[in-house]
Amino acid sequence: MILLILVTLLSAAFANVWLSQQCRFLTYEISKLENSIRQERETSLRLEVETASLKSLTRIERIAMNQLELSTPTPEQIIELP
């Protein structure tokens, strides 16, 4: 009987240690993932700003006029689609 109790207690102790360890490892993992999310988010924000910068109308107009040799249409050239 005493042996059974001892074995149970020992098992419970090991289980407790194992669970604590698992909990710690998972927290490490969560921490890493959170850092990674934060970095990805920062990258995403940076890219959004870069996109906005590339979409700058001054830049688009410059490329359209200088590189693609486009010009502003006259009112007669504009056809409204239904």
Binding site: Y28, S31, V49, A52, S53, P75
Partner: protein, 661 residues
């Protein structure tokens, strides 16, 4: 000694040693107990606190400043995380090599850097807000005394676009100008905090109460402004300022029904990413914080108030004194010598004398109260910092010449935003609008936190008066009016030119060389979609608003009309259909308000409109009317007396002034 006696002595010795050991052990136990009591009970809190500092840490989350976006969700201002480099000089034994490396990597001054690293302080900034590649290069130095702290950097991806409205933030992320200042609290957010527990390697093993992003981050501000309209308006204005070699220029476009500011620009502009490179004067939003004498554009409001108070009829002639009129010790001039003019003609040709004669039919208090109703001399309440009230003195301070001058736009100062708000009132049929720049505030998840609704409009003048005035303003933009360069193909425009002399700060009199040329108007005149004000300060090539500002108005209008999908006037469309079908030549007049130019009045007792006709055509038009016609000058009819629509008497003298329009 017997064996029994020896045994007895041994037992006593044993007892003694046992008692000593027990006593020592008891003493030790008591000491341990006391110590344990002190540790566990008396000093428990202090020691728990000490232990916590070893393995727990309070993490502060720096809020990211919220974005500013236009009405179509396009980014105008955003923030990204960057790193600032600091050093701990106390830990540096040989600062010279580190200073040399940092100076070359970060383009810093070597001596300054060396001084910082040799200061022996615990903390010094080396360089704030480094680009990512510089951070990587510094990390490669592998120096224990150098570290990085995350900071937020404000970026304006469209550079100088809408710079005066957006404003900018300082190095520490506080709004210093424009919307960044006005909505600083909303945009900046609050620091977020939570607790983490660390292991001996500094890794997080448990976290407690991490806040959600939207709880601490800055909110996003959605504006009424439209990036494309803003860009087109800025381009046209910039070109005009350069062409005219003007000191500056400004333009504001507004929705007359809601007060939404669609675009606002001051040229030359500045790049808020590098705001410190520009003077404070250049960064000032002159459309809101400065005031100007409006000049002839004020005649619109004088005429409106006279109409509202039934002080003049549209066909009633007003004698314009042939261009010179004495008011007290002063003489008021017109640019042309006008005789009799009706109110529509006064507005069309922008006669100062006509405007003051119409305006002075009112009591001083009536004019003052009327102008105050348009919020001249008061704040419009626009959500931009530093708005000026302008200058409209109380009636008691008005001399006769002040009263007269105010009628045609001198002797008072108003801000461009006051002017365009007042014009919106005419465009929308008499309702006062409250200009606004911010539309709504959203959290980091896009949930609407606050909506800035258009404030309920208050009626300032009757719809009838604004309708009549709109028809007059349409004449200004037609041939023969001062603002004909603002006319648009297919769209009716109502507008008014202004050419205001500036006050010379040295002589404190009106300068004969410096002017503010302006044009304000709205289109389509009968169903206004936008109101637009253009002002050019000190143009050098021409001075009249009709020549300087009206063409800019036209350019902007032509560019935004297709973008906004504003439909042409129905009359124009109908006319286009008729033209294309080669229909009857005697088409209907475009409007019934007044006789179109040169159209013969069928009633022989009424004077027809002869403006714009040559002498022969004018005489033919007069036909059988019994008039004593006197032709003065040569060219086309630029003025006539009696005015169009006036009742004729038998053998009345009629003067037709001919000239070049």
């Amino acid at each position: 000694m017997t064996a029994a006696h020896r045994k007895n002595r041994q037992r006593k010795g044993l007892m003694l040693r046992r008692n000593i050991v027990v006593t020592i052990m008891l003493a030790c136990f008591v000491v341990i107990l006391v110590r344990a009591y002190r540790l566990q009970v008396t000093e428990s809190e202090r020691l728990t606190g000490l232990a916590l500092t070893e393995y727990s840490r309070k993490v502060t989350l720096l809020p990211r400043r919220g974005d500013i976006v236009d009405r179509r969700d396009r980014i105008l201002a955003s923030s990204v995380e960057v790193y600032s480099l600091y050093a701990e000089p106390r830990l540096i034994k040989e600062p010279k090599p580190i200073a040399a490396k940092l100076a070359s990597l970060l383009n810093l001054d070597y001596l300054d850097t060396l001084e910082k690293l040799s200061s022996g302080k615990g903390f010094v900034w080396i360089k704030r807000k480094l680009p990512p590649h510089q951070k990587a290069e510094v990390l490669e130095l592998n120096c224990r005394a150098l570290g990085f702290l995350p900071e937020s950097k404000r970026i304006y991806p469209n550079r100088d676009l809408a710079a005066h409205m957006l404003g900018f933030v300082g190095l520490d992320g506080n709004g210093l100008e424009g919307l960044e200042l006005q909505y600083d609290q909303t945009l900046s957010g609050e620091k977020g905090h939570f607790q983490v527990y660390k292991d001996r390697l500094g890794r997080t093993v448990y976290r407690h109460g991490s806040p959600e992003r939207f709880e601490y981050e800055g909110h996003r501000l959605v504006l009424t402004l439209d990036k494309t309209i803003q860009y087109r308006l800025e381009n046209a204005l910039r070109k005009a300022v350069i062409e005219q070699n003007a000191t500056s220029g400004l333009a504001v476009m507004m929705d007359p029904w809601t007060g939404d500011v669609l675009a606002m620009s001051v040229q030359p502009s500045y790049d808020p990413n590098f705001f410190w490179k520009y003077s404070a004067a250049r960064r000032r939003n002159r459309a809101v914080v400065d005031c100007f004498e409006p000049g002839s554009t004020m005649k619109v409001f004088t005429a409106l108030l006279a109409l509202e108070n039934n002080l003049i009829r549209l066909d009633e002639p007003v004698y314009c004194e042939n261009g010179n009129f004495r008011v007290g010790r002063h003489v008021v001039h017109d640019t042309h010598r006008y005789g009799w003019l009706t109110l529509p003609r006064i507005i069309q040709v922008s006669s100062n004398i006509g405007a003051l004669k119409v305006g002075m039919r009112m009591e001083k208090a009536m004019l003052y109260d009327g102008l105050r109703r348009f919020r001249f001399g008061d704040l419009t309440g626009i959500d931009l910092p530093g708005e000026t009230r302008g200058l409209l003195r109380g009636v008691t301070g008005w001399a006769e010449i002040d009263f007269a001058a105010i009628c045609f736009g001198q002797g008072l100062s108003i801000s461009p935003i006051q002017q365009i708000s007042a014009l919106s009132t005419i465009a929308n049929g008499g309702l006062l609008v409250h200009p606004r720049v911010a539309k709504r505030v959203e959290d980091a998840h896009g949930n609407v936190i606050r909506r800035f609704e258009s404030k309920p409009s208050q009626r300032v003048v009757s719809k009838k008066s604004t309708r009549l005035l709109t028809k007059m303003l349409k004449k200004v933009v037609e041939s023969g009016g001062t603002g004909s360069s603002a006319a648009l193909d297919g769209y009716s425009v109502a507008g008014k030119t202004g050419t205001a002399q500036k006050v010379d700060s040295k002589t404190r009199t009106y300068s004969k060389h410096t002017y503010v040329s302006s044009f304000m108007g709205f289109f389509p005149a009968d169903k206004p979609a936008v109101v637009l004000l253009v002002m050019i300060d000190e143009p050098q090539k021409a001075v009249y608003g009709g020549l300087v500002a009206a063409p800019v108005f036209k350019t902007i209008a032509e560019q935004v009309i297709p973008y906004m999908g504003i439909k042409p006037d129905e009359v124009y469309l109908a006319r286009k259909d008729i033209d294309s079908a080669a229909a009857r030549p005697d088409e209907e007049p475009l409007e019934s308000y007044a006789s179109p130019i040169g159209e013969e009045s069928e009633d022989p007792g009424v004077m027809p409109n002869l403006i714009g006709l040559d002498a022969r055509s004018a005489l033919n038009t007069l036909g059988n009317r019994k008039l004593d016609v006197k032709l003065i000058g040569s060219g086309i009819v630029v003025n006539q007396d009696p005015p169009p629509g006036a009742c004729l008497e038998s053998k009345q003298v009629s003067r037709l002034i001919l000239g070049k329009e």
